[in-house]
Amino acid sequence: MAVTLELSNVSKIFQKDRELVRAVDDVSMTVTPGEMVTFLGPSGCGKTTTLRMVAGFEIPSGGTITIDGQDVTNVPVNRRDIGFVFQNYALFPHMSVFENVAYGLRVKGYREEEIRRMVREGLDLVGLGKAEKRFPNQLSGGEQQRVALARVLVLQPRVLLMDEPLSNLDAKLRIHMRTEIRRIQKHLNITCLYVTHDQGEALTMSDRIMVMNRGKVEQIGAPLEIYSDPSSLFVADFIGQANIIPGEVVSVEGGTASVSIAGLTVPVRAVKNASFAPGAPAAVVVRPENLLPSPGEGMKGTVLTATFLGGRMEYEVALESGRTVLSFDPFLPGKRMWTEGESISLSFDPAVAVALQA
């Protein structure tokens, strides 16, 4: 049942007047059967376009796409057995919620009572059991999005392509839905591409994450890998929040580089494939949750803002070097809290920091 999905050197160029937009630029990747790969990347980086090419809505300007070993570049959409959740929902405005969800099932030729059962199940799954007679224009934004999701999930396609399917749902529902999606996807062993802007979602749901930037692939890897071993400053900066502190390589030994930062020399893990030479500039990536107020020595700075963020305090700190860094301090009662203007000293655990080529 589960299929491989392969993109080889896929590009898409939009031509507009004299302006050429290279929306997707030489993307290659293989999605193994039953895998869930999430696309992450800044707005406009080409995620939707890539997904649309896989679906067959858009013809690649170059490259090939194969599903299950078969070149589908010229196979019509409806023969690809894919499910697509559109960023703008694309619900059929003239059909009730029930009919929208039943659409694909009818195409597949299920019997009427089966359809009714499956649609019910699908709608219950997204919490819209009672809205089946309504029309899309009588639904709230989130409700519409859920219908779009249900419409595809009931079909259990071979390949599932989802373009920000949960963006308009509240946190609770989103968490619920993502576990449901993941459960179904795993259970049916569906190969899945998923676009999201929610990093929590990407990190929790995906087998692998593909980070894109300006149409190009920046890094593909397991969530933890992307997070802790970003292959570029872009990735480091984009995933999670990162303090990028410039320094100079003092010495390199095995996987560890000693980097001098603000007068201190710290041994930091060097990123894979990096070739550091002593004296070369390096950027040390320190996650805000690893940059904590320290009673002892550390980098000195002044608190710019202190924000309460539910489970934690968030400090924006201006270092003496002038650089602004973020520090997330778990909020526990009794813990000292800093306020704006106070002096603070920050330190980090070098073992979970990583040095990149600057």
Partner: protein, 565 residues
């Protein structure tokens, strides 16, 4: 909600209170409808049914007693149904080819241009070309060796009317089809439906507003058309508007003719109601403020595409053939007798027809923008604003369209030939007659298009501080510009070619091109008539180009290449 509702059903606040700009627009529309539609018809109604100061329907009774007239009534219904169905189908096929099949853009333009030709057929000229081809001993019949083809009667009339009216349907539907968010069809395909099924379940239902309005328009057109049956229906296929015309002009029985015409309002009203019912309250919104990207064209299947293009090319070739006959007729000395080429006929047009040409152009130039404006305003109010009298307004705006032109013309003469509204002999009466008769196409097209536009786009404009008028002109109008353009083009063409209503309104001061053409026909000057038609076609093409350019300019980049095709 399980709790008994403390508040009653949603409270109605008068839209006028919230939308003060509506009031002057509404007042203007109602006044003009009252003056130019209701009042003349009312006067005609009185003339028809007041016998010695008493309301009497004896006129109608007499007419209904005749088997021939009853037959005519049924034939009219049958013909109108057949024409509206066939014309809409053909129009849909064209619209589909232009909006959904990837063909070069010059070819799209060409298909579009050719379809304007039948619209520009002044009464009788295209019928003559048809007759020459398919009538007894017709050129095409001989060519294909067909015998015993009964052209006169239903078939000829049906064919001619379908050819004449399908462009209206094409234009309405092309506007509607091109405004369907491609993502919706994509969604259908991605759910596994074949292109055919997507067409059946998504594209087609979403074009319902267009189809319904096209059917309504074509039905009314055919119902009111007396000129085509006059030439082609023959005695075996009487239809009501022709009967009415004959009653008036042949039997000198104005009352009987008018009575017959009023009868036509019943089916027109019926179809109007059916149409509303059909479009219903469903949503056809496909232009939301969140657009999906337009996708590359996907094949609809070779067979279907071949079929669609096949039909288009055949019909296009046929139309071109018909009009090349007319061109030929305009260029030769005497058709079939002296085939030497000559400019004489054109010379005749520009000498004898000069005043008619300039008069007609001026009238068209005045009526077209006014009619276009009226069409968007009426269409907009009818589709977007909900209040008492809406439906009535929408229906009244179609009345003049659904009645045979002769009757409308007579009503105008009766109403406007004396105080308080003395208009006969003026340009105003001609402009009004054309406008209130032929703005219907624009109104219907605008209504069809508005069905597709998410009201939130207009709300956005209001929230950015724009008043109702600005929102209307800057946002609504540009979004329905294809429909408005179509309406204006239709109006312009009819100002140039339509004759039935205005034959009673032309005066010494204002003469019309079509009157001249008709004269040529009745005086058997076939070549000159052809030359007039050719000139007319060129004028219309020129004017359409100007019109399109002007509208583009006025609304800046309407639906620019970047926007909807």
């Amino acid at each position: 909600m399980n709790r008994p509702s403390a508040l009653s059903a949603p409270e109605k606040v008068s839209p006028l209170k919230r939308d003060p700009a509506l009031l002057p627009a509404l007042a203007a529309i109602w006044i003009s409808l009252a003056v130019f539609v209701l009042y003349p018809l009312f006067r005609l109604f009185l003339t028809t049914f007041m016998v010695e100061g008493q309301l009497s329907f004896s006129n109608l009774g007499a007419v209904l007693d005749s088997w021939y007239d009853r037959q005519a009534f049924l034939n009219s219904l049958w013909l109108a149904t057949a024409v509206s169905v066939a014309g809409t189908v053909l129009g849909y096929i064209y619209a589909f080819a232009v909006t959904r099949i990837s063909i070069p853009s010059w070819l799209k333009w060409f298909l579009g241009a050719v379809t304007t030709l039948p619209l520009i057929s002044p009464p009788f000229t295209s019928s003559i070309a048809l007759t020459l081809s398919l009538g007894p001993n017709g050129i095409l019949l001989k060519f294909f060796g067909i015998e015993n083809f009964n052209f006169y009667g239903f078939w000829g009339t049906w064919m001619s009317e379908t050819l004449t009216y399908f462009p209206v349907s094409f234009l309405t539907l092309a506007a509607v089809l091109s405004a369907i968010d491609p993502n919706l069809e994509d969604a259908g395909l991605s759910l596994g439906a074949s292109p055919g099924r997507v067409f059946r379940t998504v594209t087609f239902p979403l074009s319902t507003p267009g189809i319904a309005n096209s059917v309504l328009l074509l039905f009314a057109s055919s119902l009111a058309d007396f000129a085509t049956p006059l030439v082609l229906a023959g005695h075996s296929f009487p239809v009501l508007p022709t009967q009415a015309y004959l009653q008036i002009t042949g039997l000198y029985d104005l009352r009987g003719g008018a009575a017959l015409s009023f009868l036509l309002l019943l089916p027109a009203m019926g179809v109007y109601v059916l149409q509303r019912f059909w479009v219903g309250k469903k949503s056809y919104v496909t232009i939301s403020g969140k657009t999906g990207s337009r996708s590359g064209f996907k094949s609809k299947g070779k067979l279907a595409e071949g079929l669609v293009l096949g039909v288009c090319f055949t019909v296009t070739a046929f139309i071109l053939y018909l009009y090349s006959l007319i061109l030929w007729g305009a260029l030769v000395k005497v058709w079939g007798v002296d085939n030497s080429l000559t400019w004489e006929n054109f010379h005749y047009v520009f000498t004898h027809g000069r005043k008619a040409i300039t008069d007609t152009l001026s009238i068209a130039a005045v009526a077209t923008p006014l009619g276009g404006l009226m069409a968007v305003v009426v269409g907009y109010i009818a589709q977007r604003k909900r209040f008492f009298g809406n439906r009535a307004m929408e229906f009244f705006s179609m009345l003049n369209y659904a009645l045979p032109g002769t009757v409308v013309g007579i009503a105008y003469v009766i109403a406007f030939n004396e105080r308080p509204i003395l208009l006969t002999g003026t340009m105003t009466i001609l402009v009004a007659a054309y406008m209130f008769r032929y703005h219907a196409a624009g109104i219907r097209a605008v209504i069809a298009s508005l069905h597709q536009i998410d009201p939130s786009i207009e709300e956005a404009s209001a929230s950015l501080g724009a008043g109702a008028a600005r929102t209307f002109f800057r946002v609504t109008v540009p979004l329905v510009v294809p429909a408005v353009l179509m309406g204006m083009r239709y109006l312009f063409i009819h100002c140039m070619t339509a004759i039935s209503a205005t034959i009673f309104l032309v005066s010494v001061r204002w003469s019309l091109l079509t009157t001249r053409i008709l004269e040529c026909m009745t005086e058997l000057q076939f070549a000159q008539a052809c030359a007039f038609s050719v000139v007319l076609i060129l004028l219309v093409f020129g004017a359409t180009a100007v019109l399109t350019g002007l509208t583009r300019f006025a609304t800046r980049r309407i639906s620019g290449e970047g926007g909807r095709g």
